[in-house]
């Protein structure tokens, strides 16, 4: 039996009459790379916010890293890492300042911070850039650094919201090397992406349409189920009937 790190049961979020996330139920395992896909407006962001302890559900239940999404949201925040393409690091702080700032927020003490940031900078080969502003780094490096910072405190789960948007194809692959390494170390990776080749790199995929989880399985099984050769076509089959086209 695999360790379950995220479990939701009929998790629902309503905004007035609008049901953004509609009774989603799933289990995500330790060390798994879980692809969280869906059309624009399908309810992915709302679901992620609930799982990160940033939004209280309207009904249903869920635990993240063993903590309840209604009552233990602060404990959840300490057990997870988060990174998105839109917000990752402070551009006007240096590399080392960013590492120390985020490490501090995630609760690392001074001694641990010092050791971990030195090690991280060495691993990423960023020694010459350590004192430079993050804004001066190429986008690819920023994204790799942001990911490393998000898992600096060895969280149980890291949430990645479109981490590779706009990144060049070589860096995109290097980024996935980091994801694999993290998963091999037992960190669960919960990731959204618009690149369908990246969907193939996930152990399992869930596909949201109009607030519901319409499919959940391994990429190979999903392709078999829909009898199509690529994830792109699985996505197309599922999402083309979508009624909602919000962001």
């Amino acid at each position: 039996m695999q360790d379950i790190v995220i479990k939701t049961d009929k998790l629902t979020k309503k905004f007035g009459d609008f049901i953004a996330t509609n009774q989603i139920s799933m289990e995500v395992y330790k060390g798994e790379i879980f692809g969280f896909l869906g059309a624009n407006g399908a309810g992915k962001t709302t679901a992620m916010k609930m799982l990160c302890g940033l939004s209280i559900p309207s009904s249903g239940s869920a635990t993240v890293a063993g903590f309840d999404v209604y009552t233990q949201r602060e404990a959840i925040k300490k057990s997870i890492g988060y990174m998105s393409q839109k917000f990752s690091l402070y551009e006007d702080l240096t590399v080392i300042e960013n590492i120390e700032f985020f490490g501090g927020i995630y609760g690392l003490n001074r001694k641990a911070l010092k050791e971990k940031s030195a090690k991280l900078i060495e691993q990423l080969g960023l020694q010459p850039e350590a004192a430079k502003l993050v804004g001066a780094l190429p986008l690819g490096w920023k994204q790799k650094l942001a990911f490393s910072v998000a898992i600096l405190h060895e969280p149980k789960i890291v949430f990645l919201d479109e981490p590779t948007g706009g990144v060049d194809p070589v860096t995109r692959r290097q980024f996935w090397d980091l994801i694999y390494d993290a998963a091999d170390r037992g960190i669960t990776v919960f990731v959204t992406t618009h690149y369908m080749d990246e969907a193939e790199y996930c152990n399992r995929i869930s596909m949201m349409v109009d607030g519901f989880i319409k499919a959940l399985d391994s990429p190979a099984n999903l392709k078999k189920q829909f009898n199509v050769p690529s994830m792109d076509e699985v996505f197309f089959e599922l999402a083309r009937g979508a009624q909602r086209k919000a962001d």
Partner: protein, 304 residues
């Protein structure tokens, strides 16, 4: 006739100067659907902003529809449509008001050019009384395209129209572009999605302000230097590491379900030797077959 001519165009920002566009040259033919393909920071937006006369170059020259981008900027502004990457319509005007506003700016009316935008506009017409700021992402994109077209431009610039848009909406958007092209409009479109490159007639692959290659997608794919193979096993992450350390393997990159590899030399037994080696190493369900490169393979090859 060339609708866009770019010669040695250059743009730098800041002090010390960072080069965003590094002395590039290309032509776009009248009525062509031309793609600038490259990641963030490749210089796509700077090129578009110079060609639409919103930014002055630091070197080189360019013309649009025969007019110089510096001297004749007023003529160019009448003749081009520009849809920026960032949503730039008036958020507190309604859908309808935005469209009328942009028509009026260009001394025309919505009625006069309605035929051109009709296909797209009818999709957002049910929401014509809604403020633009309250539209969904997909609808904003369609309204922005209508506003960029309503004065019947000769050349249309679309800066990353499909970024952050799901694959269903992306397919729809490219269908719209094809229909616009049939109306004779020259279209320059930029995208970070390599798979969209094949939807253009000609493309420029851009990286860090430089053009890596410029040709039809088919020719770029044809000029890939090596025979490419697709390979998979039950252990893809491990397989990747194994192949990277294999002395016979020249390149190895993950491509969705398969890894793409090329060999330093291909002999009669190259394929079977690799399969046997990997089997011995413990891989199961191995597949290896020849495959055609994609634009993304070409881009990676050109970057290295």
């Amino acid at each position: 006739m060339m609708d866009v001519q770019v010669r040695g165009l250059r743009k730098t920002y800041g002090k010390p100067p960072v080069t965003a566009v590094d002395t590039i040259s290309f032509d776009v033919k009248k009525g062509e659907l031309f793609g600038l393909i490259g990641p963030d920071g490749a210089g796509k937006t700077s090129i578009f902003r110079m060609l639409t006369t919103l930014l002055l170059p630091d070197g080189g020259t360019a013309s649009v529809n025969g007019f110089d981008i510096v001297k004749d900027y007023k003529f160019i502004r009448e003749r081009v449509g520009y849809m920026p990457g960032k949503f730039s319509l008036y958020q507190d005007l309604t859908v309808e008001e935005n469209l009328h506003f942009f028509a009026t700016l260009f001394n025309t009316t919505v009625e006069e050019n309605y035929a051109l935008v009709k296909d797209i506009y009818i999709q957002i017409e049910p929401f014509k009384k809604r403020r633009a700021g309250n539209l969904s992402g997909g609808m904003k994109q369609k309204l922005a395209l209508c506003c960029a077209l309503i004065h019947r431009p000769l050349v249309l610039f679309l800066d990353e129209p499909t970024t952050g848009v799901d694959t269903v909406s992306r397919k729809e958007f490219w269908e719209m572009l094809k229909r616009l092209k049939e109306q004779g409009i020259t279209i320059l479109v930029s995208t970070p999605y390599m798979d969209e490159a094949t939807l253009c007639e000609r493309i420029a692959l851009l990286q860090e302000g430089k053009i890596l290659s410029i040709d039809t997608p088919a020719n770029i794919i044809r000029s890939y230097p090596d025979q490419l193979f697709a390979i998979k096993s039950d252990q893809m992450s491990w397989l990747l590491k194994e192949l990277r350390n294999n002395p016979e393997v020249k390149t190895c990159n993950s491509f969705g379900e398969y890894h793409h590899i090329s060999f330093k030399e291909i002999a009669a037994d190259t394929e079977s030797a690799l399969i046997n080696y990997l089997k011995k190493a413990g891989h199961s369900n191995l597949e290896l077959f020849k495959t055609a490169p994609t634009i993304e393979d070409c881009f990676i090859n050109l970057m290295n």
